[in-house]
């Protein structure tokens, strides 16, 4: 697939692959296709062994041990390093500094400012743009064209901003779609904050809702600028995951209910 948002990044990776670059940092928003590009890099290098690692100390250490003993070419992708603890960066840094010839390390992250300078200075940086709607449509068509045709006309489709959003929407069953249809009417601001917050976080069968999509959907209905700002603050807080999800949603509902 030739995605508009990924084309520039893919061109950069092609050049880097020709130079056999051993350390790369790919930054971009959630669901923009960072891991997909890491896999593409492995293809460009003609390397078959591709390991995906979460940014936890135990995983990184065990994969590093495994790669040290390996003799074949390996592409190691550390996913969303800025989601893990800072200490994970240190064994990685040591490894990047003295990288074996058969190993290529690709680090993905949401926010490049969260990555230590010592790692950035030893890696090539690749930025990936947010997908445009044509990219999302193309991706959805490739996943399930019939489902895409059915969902395209629904308001929920306008809330998709990333490839992972598309995946989530395409997996929604009829009950979940009905939840979105009834969301505005079911939110009674005369109810207690805790009850509204619960409704936003859980479907009727008590399974969690795709919260980011729910908040984006909610933004379609809010009219006051202060409410829109609260929704945006909520989405930012959910992206950074500093505070518990329940506290973030309760804050949003407090804003929606108490702010005129």
């Amino acid at each position: 697939m030739n995605m508009v948002n990924q084309s520039e990044a893919l061109n950069t990776l092609t050049v880097l692959a020709k130079n056999y670059q051993h350390g790369i940092v790919i930054s971009g928003t959630s669901g923009s296709g960072k891991t997909y590009l890491a896999r593409e890099y492995a293809k460009l290098l003609n390397v078959e062994t591709f390991y995906l690692v979460s940014p936890s100390m135990s995983d990184v250490r065990s994969v590093i041990d495994m790669c040290t003993d390996a003799t074949n070419d390996i592409v190691l992708c550390v996913e969303n390093l800025d989601n893990g603890v800072l200490q994970v960066a240190y064994p990685l840094l040591k490894f990047i500094e003295d990288c074996p010839k058969n190993l290529y390390i690709v680090i993905t992250c949401f926010n490049i400012r969260q990555i230590p300078d010592t790692i950035l200075s030893r890696c090539a940086l690749v930025n990936i743009n947010n997908p445009i709607s044509a990219d999302l449509d193309q991706y959805a068509r490739s996943v399930n064209n019939a489902e895409f045709t059915r969902l395209k006309s629904l308001p929920i489709w306008q809330c998709a901003k990333s490839f992972s959003d598309v995946d989530t929407i395409m997996k929604l069953d009829s009950e979940a779609l009905a939840y979105f249809d009834n969301l505005q009417s079911s939110l009674d601001m005369k109810s207690p904050v805790s009850s509204i917050a619960w409704k936003l976080q859980y479907f009727e069968n008590k399974t969690p809702t795709p919260l980011v999509l729910v908040i984006r959907y909610l933004m379609h209905f809010v009219v006051s600028p202060s409410h829109t700002r609260s929704c945006i603050d909520c989405l930012n807080a959910l992206a950074t995951s500093r505070i518990s999800q329940n506290a973030i949603i309760t804050k949003l509902v407090f804003d929606l209910k108490y702010l005129e």
């Binding site: 207690p192 505070i243 506290a247 309760t250 804050k251």
Partner: protein
């Protein structure tokens, strides 16, 4: 089926039964009863199965057997073979000593209760006052209040006895409060958390600060507690019949007070998590000080 009181009385009495089937999850009490029987009857012997035991006891012995406590654990084979006939054999068996057969699953106990109801008991969830009594008999030198706190905060007698045993070894050099006991068990003292919530709801700054000084757990819990209290107030404003621990204090808070206080607490939590504020204790004092305002100021006014 025997009750725990029946079993206790018969074991501690002068003539214990020859056969006990003890079920339930309270391993500590079962062990205690076995210890009592050992002190009354004779040495303890672990036996593999009841069927083997029946055949052993049925044989004639040249040297007469001495009374002993035979402990048999989780003998599923016996349960599978158990019927009226086997139950009669066991009941009429001449046992030199006492047999204690231990189980922990409900199915085995149900079957035993059907065929041997006079010998079967389930020991579960013993009241903490009984646990305190047992601990007192195990460690008579420990202070009564300390024993009460240990029993109240423990999961079962087994855990309580282990903690009491440890404390008994060092009791001369330490003084333990209930809060210390809670820490030993990895629990937060519920009374402190409830008291802090009431102090927040009552806008009682002095009490709040006093309690904060004695709060020994993660202080961010207090910020969550403030946010939770404001959510409770919102619930009470929406429905005056709703039940809540802070119901009596709702009149001290206006709608805007609730909203602004929640915002302050949320903002404080965000600052702590983002690392822009280092001292959480200072933040909590600041949040407490806000309660002294007649009308809690907006976050933007203060910033």
């Amino acid at each position: 089926m025997l009750s725990i009181q029946d079993v206790g009385l018969s074991i501690m009495g002068d003539t214990p039964k020859k056969l006990y089937f003890l079920g339930g999850q309270e391993y500590g009490i079962k062990e205690k009863y076995i210890d009592i029987l050992v002190s009354k009857v004779g040495p303890r012997i672990e036996y593999s199965g009841l069927l083997d035991f029946i055949s052993f006891m049925s044989k004639k012995h040249i040297i007469p057997l001495t009374p002993q406590v035979y402990v048999i654990r989780y003998d599923k084979l016996f349960i599978s073979k158990l019927n009226k006939e086997l139950a009669d054999i066991l009941t009429n068996l001449k046992i030199e000593g006492v047999v204690v057969s231990i189980y922990d699953d409900d199915n085995s106990i149900n079957k035993l209760d059907k065929f041997l109801p006079d010998n079967t008991a389930v020991i579960n969830n013993v009241d903490y006052r009984h646990i305190a009594k047992y601990i007192k008999s195990d460690f008579p030198e420990l202070d009564d209040t300390l024993i009460y706190n240990i029993a109240k905060n423990s999961v079962d007698y087994y855990q309580a006895k282990n903690v009491a045993r440890c404390i008994n070894c060092v009791k001369d050099s330490i003084i333990l409060t209930e809060s210390d006991i809670c820490n030993l068990f990895g629990l937060t003292n519920p009374s402190t958390i409830e008291a802090i919530q009431i102090a927040i709801a009552d806008r009682n700054y002095v009490k709040y600060i006093e309690l904060l000084g004695s709060f020994e757990n993660d202080l961010t819990q207090v910020i969550y507690l403030i946010m939770n209290t404001m959510t409770e107030f919102d619930k009470l404003l929406t429905n005056k019949y709703a039940s809540s621990p802070v119901k009596n204090y709702v009149k001290k808070w206006t709608r805007l007070d609730i909203y602004y206080m929640f915002n302050h607490a949320y903002n404080a939590l965000d600052n702590i998590r983002s690392g822009s504020t280092a001292d959480i204790y200072d933040i909590l004092i600041y949040l407490g000080a806000l309660m002294k305002f007649q009308n809690i100021p907006d976050l933007e006014v203060l910033s």
